[in-house]
């Protein structure tokens, strides 16, 4: 699938945000491609810039205080250069987003039906009746029982899991080419999470859309992703196909992150690996590798250039670390 042109291509995306303490460099020159039918996971901890990068590529960040640079190509069209009108046609239609909090991302004073029909009518040439039918169809698709009935209900009448399904129905209503799911299951219980993950995977098979799945949860990523990009301090430190990343992680941060996840019920509990320290302050990013302070295998002295460039270390496997040579294996 990587032979074809990517549907979404992020090139050298940077986001800087002005704060009282100075300029925060929240996203530092990240690039990745997403192909049709593919799921790319962006993994990172809070403050890694993963959510901001997604908001930036949808042009949903208020500018100022944010300053967004780079290119975001959707089928060759740069979203960062388009006018606000063009973007309104694209957002919700060709590229859609599902947010983390299903409790606050629906408007409490409008019915589910009103909120679902609105984007459909905005983007598709349908009559009110046909749009309503489409809304019912979407609710059915995401597994909401008695959808025609539920259309006139208000968000508070739905549980968290059901609301997230409604959010997904809204996002998918106009057959987007790209779906961005930002921590879409984080607020949900594991059994509900399993339902949602399965739902998205099934819909992806059927509709062939590309999915960018943003999460901190390495377990979810293992089950859902084709490719994984690991973000830290606004940079992509490692990018690889999912198997390669988990079986042969090259960046010390990736290795540490994987080792710090407890595996339930497997042999005697060993001591967890814990990465010492804290991520750097985005207002005062150190020069060179952002992970150097916490790194267990760091080279001396600290490399000067920022950001560290991604170097290929295997087929389709790139890493931003001067110590992780093609032969060097960690973990």
């Amino acid at each position: 699938m990587s032979a074809s042109e990517p549907v979404l291509s992020v090139r050298n995306l940077t986001v800087e945000i002005g704060t009282r303490r100075g300029t925060a460099r929240v996203v530092n020159d990240i690039s990745y491609d997403v192909h049709r039918g593919e799921t790319v996971a962006i993994v990172g901890e809070s403050g890694s810039g993963k959510t901001v990068s997604a908001l930036a590529l949808m042009r949903l960040l208020p500018e100022p205080p944010a300053r967004v640079g780079g290119r975001v190509l959707l089928d060759g069209v740069d979203l960062l250069r388009g006018s606000e009108r063009e973007l309104c046609r694209i957002r919700g239609h060709r590229i859609a987003m599902v947010f983390q909090d299903p409790m606050t991302s629906l408007n409490p004073v409008l019915t589910i039906g009103q909120q679902l029909v609105e984007p459909i009518r905005l983007h598709l040439p349908l009559t009110a009746g046909a749009a309503r039918d489409r809304a019912v169809e979407m609710l059915h698709l995401v597994g909401i029982p008695a959808p025609r009935h539920r259309l006139d209900d208000y968000p508070h009448q739905f549980s968290g899991g059901m609301r997230q399904r409604v959010m997904i129905a809204m996002a998918l209503a106009c057959d987007p080419e790209v779906l961005i799911a930002d921590e879409a299951t984080t607020a949900l219980d594991v059994t509900t999470q399993a339902q949602i993950v399965e739902l998205v995977a099934g819909l992806q098979d059927r509709m062939g859309m590309a999915v960018v799945w943003i999460t901190h949860d390495l377990g979810v990523v293992a089950g859902i992703a084709d490719r994984v990009a690991v973000m830290y301090a606004g940079q992509v430190l490692e990018e690889a196909p999912v198997d390669a990343l988990y079986e042969d992680p090259r960046h010390p941060y990736t290795t540490g992150l994987l080792a710090s996840v407890p595996t339930p019920g497997i042999d005697r509990p060993h001591r967890l690996f814990a990465i010492p320290g804290l991520p750097p302050d985005p207002v005062a990013l150190p020069p060179g590798c952002p992970f150097w302070d916490r790194c267990a295998v760091r080279g001396e002295p600290r490399a000067e250039f920022t950001p560290q460039p991604l170097r290929p270390v295997g087929s389709d496997h790139q890493v931003a670390c001067s110590c992780a040579g093609p032969a060097a294996r960690h973990g």
Binding site: E45, S46, S159, G160, G161, M162, D189, V190, T191, T192, Q193, A194, Q195, V197, E198, H216, D217, L218, G219, V220, V221, A222, G223, V242, D243, Y246, E247, G256, L257, L258, S260, V261, P262, T263, P264, G265, I266, P269, R271, L272, F273, A274, I275, P276, L278
Partner: protein
């Protein structure tokens, strides 16, 4: 401390009910929600019992009720032989020297207007321990070092610290009075993955050095499976299964536990691809109006007619595994 042989904490048929008022202009009907509905378990000295379940299952309320931070409606809680549920206000406060709690949200559990030193010395002041400024200051330093922070952080304020550091401060506060028993309510849920491991290791180290007993409450099965000696699984106000960690994870018996375990994502792509997920249908019923018979029957993949009629009890099996399911009748 007098060594007695029984469990440190024994909970029997604990119930917590909350009154509910339906919202709306006119009060239509009011009733009660049984957040905790007949929970029994025991925790041995130096043991860690994991308490897992999904949101709304009553696990946090159970933890709060043990310390009487919410009042139990019925049932018994015996802590080292003392009945907790009937204690008067003074005796209860005295008991809180020996039982402590660590909270989920390290951003909300520290008073933003108090310095770290005053947060940590508050329990000492209340219980009149380590009297005198010098002693207290030394104790604060000790506690901060114990949880892996610099002893000079006492004059700083909570907003100057990250989530993981704040959780360490919360742990230091809990340890100030040298308690025997700690209820850890989702202590890592609000933290980043790499920080979670730091806190888990800290809790384990403290248990080793101080001989603590933990009730570790979490929705994260992987974390519970890592830290616990035994695990209790809750669903809709009830404990449905209790077993040794290994037994529970290797051969779960209750259908809910099985579904829960199968839903936990594992950070191994090959395992994930091969797995048979038990995807539960429907949703957790309302605790205000639980189903008849077995509470899990509305979502259970192996439900049969008896389940809607008879409420299964938590029955002990030959091997000590306890299950509340008609498929596992136990050794009555």
């Amino acid at each position: 401390m007098a060594e007695s042989t029984g469990p440190l904490l024994a909970v029997e048929d604990l119930r917590v009910r909350f009154p509910v008022r339906s919202t709306g202009l006119v009060r239509r009907h009011s009733g009660e929600v049984s957040a905790v509905d007949g929970v029994s378990f025991a925790i041995g000295r130096g043991e860690t019992l994991g308490l897992v379940g999904e949101s709304g299952c009553g696990k946090t309320t159970t933890g709060l009720a043990l310390l009487r931070l919410v009042e139990p409606s019925a049932g018994r809680v015996a802590f080292d032989g003392t009945e907790v549920t009937t204690l008067g206000a003074r005796a209860l406060r005295a008991l809180r020297r020996r039982m402590a709690m660590i909270f989920q949200d390290p951003y909300a559990s520290l008073n933003p207007r108090m310095s770290i030193a005053s947060i940590i010395t508050e329990p000492l002041e209340i219980h009149g321990l380590h009297r005198g400024r010098q002693h207290r200051r030394r104790r604060v330093g000790e506690l901060l070092e114990l949880v892996g922070l610099s002893p000079d952080y006492g004059n700083r304020y909570p907003h100057e610290f990250s989530g993981g550091q704040r959780q360490r401060i919360g742990i230091a506060r809990a340890l100030a009075t040298e308690p025997d028993f700690i209820v850890a309510d989702e202590p890592i849920a609000a933290l980043d993955v790499s920080i979670q491991a730091q806190i888990m290791n800290l809790l384990e180290d403290l248990q080793d050095t101080l001989g603590l007993t933990y009730l570790f409450i979490a929705h994260d099965l992987a974390a519970v499976g890592h830290i616990s000696d035994r695990v209790a699984v809750m669903y809709l106000g009830r404990v449905v299964e209790v077993a040794d960690r290994a037994a529970l994870f290797e051969a779960p018996r209750h259908p809910y536990t099985r579904a829960l375990l199968s839903a936990v994502p594992v950070a191994r792509p090959q395992v994930e691809r091969r797995r048979d997920r038990i995807i539960l249908g429907g949703e957790v019923p309302s605790a205000a109006d639980p189903p008849s018979g077995c509470r899990f029957r509305t979502r259970c993949p192996v439900v049969f007619d008896r389940c809607s009629v008879v409420d299964p009890v938590l029955a002990r099996q030959q091997d000590g595994h306890q299950v509340a399911c008609h498929h596992w009748p136990g050794i009555a």
